[in-house]
């Protein structure tokens, strides 16, 4: 009995410490008034990697990112480009410290991201699907 209980505690501990990759469904969102309906993966990559920061209709976009300590950010880049956050930060060091492109605006919280995109017409960011509201529009869904 004691062994079974220990195993159960061990299992709960393992499950709690596992990354929540499988649980969180992420979507790329824009302001509800943005005319863009859909974006391709390559367009989303260009935008969040600072290569071509615009919507498909050519209008300039404002990319909004989370600060590095957020697990959601790690999941987003892993799903979008298949790279670790260390690799993404190394990449952005090349862009930022050469002044090649403006870095994305950073928000401390997912709620901050939702609020900014909901009130800024040309903003774009990523959030858990569960945080969607009527002022946001999904333009790309990240597959697990």
């Amino acid at each position: 009995m004691s062994m079974q209980r220990n195993f159960l505690i061990f299992l709960i501990f393992i499950l709690m410490s596992m990354p929540t990759f499988a649980e969180e469904e992420l979507v790329v969102v824009v302001n509800g008034n943005n005319p863009i309906e859909q974006m391709t993966r390559s367009e989303v990559i260009d935008l969040f990697m600072g290569k071509y920061v615009a919507f498909p209709d050519g209008n300039k976009a404002i990319a909004v990112d989370l600060t590095s300590e957020h697990k959601t950010k790690k999941i987003f880049y892993q799903r979008l480009v298949g790279r670790s956050l260390a690799s993404i930060n190394a990449y952005w060091s090349r862009i930022r410290f050469t002044g090649r492109a403006k870095p994305p605006i950073k928000k401390e919280s997912k709620e901050g991201v939702v609020q900014y995109v909901a009130t800024t017409k040309n903003a774009i960011s990523y959030i858990p699907k569960s945080m969607l509201n009527e002022k946001l529009k999904v333009v790309y869904q990240l597959n697990e």
Binding site: T67, A86, P103
Partner: protein
Amino acid sequence: MLLRLLMLVFFLSSFSGFASDDTQFSAFGTIGLVTSDSSRYGYRNDVSYHKGVYSGDIDFLNHSLLGVQLDKSLSSDVDFVGQAVIRDLADPKFERYITLGFLRYAPSANWQLRIGRTAPDIFLITEYRDVGVAYIWATPPNEVYGMIPFRSLDGADVAYSTHLGDGTLRAKVFTGQAESVISSAYSVIPIELKNIFGLSINFSTIDWSIQAQHTQVKLANEAEDNQQIIDAVAQMPPFIWPDAKQFSESLALKGKHASYTSISGQAYLGNFLLTAELAQITSNDTDVIPKLLSGYGSLAYQLGEHTLYSVYAFTDSDSYTFDEPGVKTQLIPELISGVESMNNFYASSQQTISIGWRWDFSDNISSSLQWNNTHIDDLGGALWLNDSADLSADTINVLMLSVSFSL
């Protein structure tokens, strides 16, 4: 210097960056340790640096630096970027610590114009060569990057970017002027470039990129040591040196032109990262700058937070031996030696095999441990400091450890 750098890194590590929607502060830095086994050729990061690492030395100055940056949005189309890099310099001047300082006007996502101080986009990594976290190596291959002392360009550039297929095409033209120094074992020589015109074209997807760059420059000054040799040659009477005047003009660098050309590519193939670059520095106007062909190929394998890599790099140029017809060399041996030294000043001919291990021990801090085995050919050690008269071939081992961060 090192202690101050460590304290600054510690301070910056405890701050997660001050940022608002319009203003962002960020920082990067490296603490680098270098040891070498040569008592004749002193290792240095590039030709601007004046402190070589010799056998028995443990050097913290060649690779260590701290950079701070401000990004300030002034309107939806205009922003300012300023950057300062604190490091040990051969000839410290305030303006040499300022590496970026430009205004950008981006009227659309396709076009941007930058005016002010930017980073030189001459070869693949010249723009971010001092940002250690940005590449896997402890330092970019010296064979290609060691010959370029410039860290900034004062002028303007225009870039065009567009989404093309699954990738992005980016083309940039730039113009301006630059200055730095080149150090020998005996002196630190200012070098100025004017009328710089360059073109850089890049096509990249998330998994691979190719790039071509070409830059033309005009050399704007004459080093004092060179001028003395030029004057001495010009004053030689015809019975010693028949065409001395004409020859002395061929030695002058001021007003002469040089060009920098590079083609490069990078590709992620699963866990492998391949990087290769072929570069050339040449001048049709003067023999003092020989045709320098250099390149490298790097293969890295990433396993989680660890990356193992190897690099083969080379640089090749002809060395100069005095053989002008009709000159009575036995009467002016010191001057002939001076002419040979001058024409071999930029002669670089060596090959390096490197193996290394990068460890990303957090999302924004990494270390790179790298061992270089370099064979220098006869008279080919321009990338090194050597205060002896012996310029013959040698094989040198250099061990380097760099810890780099970005915030």
